[in-house]
Amino acid sequence: MPVLINVTQKERETEPISEEMGVVDRANVVLETQRLSVFYGNFKAIHDVNLSFQKNKITALIGPSGCGKSTLLRALNRMNELVPSARAEGAVLYRGHNLYAPNVDPVEVRRRIGMVFQKPNPFPKSIYENIAFGLRINGWKGSKAEMDDIVERSLRRAALWDEVKDKLKQLGTSLSGGQQQRLCIARAIAVEPEVILMDEPCSALDPIATLKIEELMIELVKQYTIIIVTHNMQQAARVSDYTAMMMMRPDRSGEVIEFDTTETIFTKPKDKRTEDYVSGRFG
């Protein structure tokens, strides 16, 4: 087993995995990682990840617990830095700019690459303020009417407007779980990011709310690029265009073992471990 891993590792040092597979359209890559490794203190959480994310596509990150999916996702908009001991090596290229270059402000990165979290986390403020906050802190200056307009547009795009239009002054936290998560999505898209990262956005929701979020993702991807971490195989199969399969290496760091179109991953994966995982044999 270790021998096998050494071989794949060697191959990868010369060629990034995404190009090696030849599955993505190079001209339409928005976000790309190059030999990205993330450490928490001395512990290496992900190892040498080379992935490309296509514009206006949904890419799913799947794999068993602890394989570094969330860490990889959070490294893409530098959210990992909120953990004091976290450190990244390698590069994340966003339209050719390395997000880890010394002159890059992580605050600006996160405005362009938004995030939706596992547990719905609306601010304990009104529904209206939840949306407006992101604009205000980013220096948006405009009339009240324009703000009303953006709030409505964001809520409409998140398929929440009809449910909340009469109670915009109510607390965001008073909504149901599924509504809260759609509010969080509306909040994320209000600041017009290009990429939206979703960290298991449906794991705290019931099946009906989950379905709504999935429909919403398929709608949103026309304007945004979505990267989603999910434990739910069916979800990855239903919504995503590309899938990256991650596994834990013997040193407990996570790596991408296979990346391809979702169809290929779920119908004829190249790696035996991917096949076992997507068919529910482990994890």
Binding site: P84, E108, R112, G114, M115, P124, A188, A190, V191
Partner: protein, 301 residues
């Protein structure tokens, strides 16, 4: 195998007497409960005795004249006007100074400070400062505010000294309140491009505010009851005038109580009881305010 071993330690079912075993065990439990009730009774009894004694002796003296008069050599003319004004002004200064300093310190320690030996040293020191006897703060105030800054034995010096005294408490409770803010809120703010300060100011602080304010009010109520540091500082015991400004000399309720109760005349002891009723009333009101405020602000969630 394990089960059979456990079984061996019990008496066999046929010769087990339910009453004996249950009886002795229950007796132990009942003894403990009885002891707890006794302990509680001692505490509550003491407070009740004190309260009843104070009310019986003080209430007859508590009237409008008492609240609006200055101190006097004659118990029937003595009042607490100067002391109440002194207490009010001192506490206002204490709160104005300690609130922002305490909250900002707490924000720094919770949100900004890196976890290293220096931060830990500061934390340990703050925890220790909260336990330093209040009279030491009086000496500190005397040396720093009265002598070094030349504020004399003024309201300002007294308020600043009390501010130092309650600062560690305020920092500890404010940190506690800030720490209890769910991390999801911080992540949400960062996730849409908020800076650290925007996150703290617009999202974390408003959520932590009920806890911070409650802690601050309770700290202020502790400052109101403090006597030792102000005695050390040299606050007056007898003043027949109202302070002209914050650099004027002053007295506070606890000091007046202390003064009256150490007088030989019995009547003054009863007048002191009346002042104690006022002081307790103020403290009760403040604590009530803290509870109401917390309930009010908590409802926002």
């Amino acid at each position: 195998m394990a089960t059979s071993e456990i079984r061996r330690n019990f008496a066999p079912a046929e010769d087990m007497s339910f009453d004996a075993i249950q009886g002795s065990r229950r007796l132990k439990g009942m003894l403990l409960v009885a002891f707890s009730i006794l302990a509680l009774a001692v505490g509550v009894g003491m407070v009740l005795t004190l309260l009843i004694d104070v009310l019986v002796r003080g209430l007859p003296w508590l009237d409008w004249q008492f609240l609006t008069s200055f101190d006097s050599r004659f118990p029937e003319r003595a009042g607490i006007l100067a002391a109440m004004v002194g207490t009010a002004l001192t506490i206002v200064i204490t709160v104005i100074v300690s609130l922002p300093v305490g909250i900002m310190s707490a924000i720094y320690l919770e949100e900004y400070a890196r976890d290293n030996w220096f931060t830990r040293l500061i934390e340990i020191n703050i925890a220790n400062l909260a336990a330093v006897p209040s009279i030491i703060y009086g000496l500190l105030g005397l040396a720093v505010f009265v002598r070094f800054f030349g504020l004399n034995r003024s309201i300002l010096a007294g308020g600043l000294t009390l501010a130092l005294l309650v600062l560690p408490i305020i920092i500890v409770v404010s940190r506690e309140a800030i720490r209890s803010v769910p991390n999801g809120i911080r992540q949400a703010a960062y996730g849409i491009g908020a800076t650290q300060w925007q996150t703290v100011w617009h999202q974390v602080l408003p959520v932590a505010l009920p806890g911070i304010l409650t802690g601050n009010i309770l700290a202020a109520s502790r400052a109101i009851g403090e006597t030792a540091p102000l005695v050390t500082l040299g606050a007056l015991t007898f003043i027949p005038f109202l302070p002209k400004d914050l650099l004027d000399r002053f007295t506070v309720l606890p000091i007046v109580i202390f003064n009256w109760s150490s007088k030989p005349q019995r009547e003054f002891h009863d007048v002191a009881a009346a002042a104690i009723i006022v002081l307790l009333g103020i403290l009760l009101l403040i604590n009530l305010l803290a509870i109401v405020l917390r309930q009010r602000l908590r409802k926002q969630f």
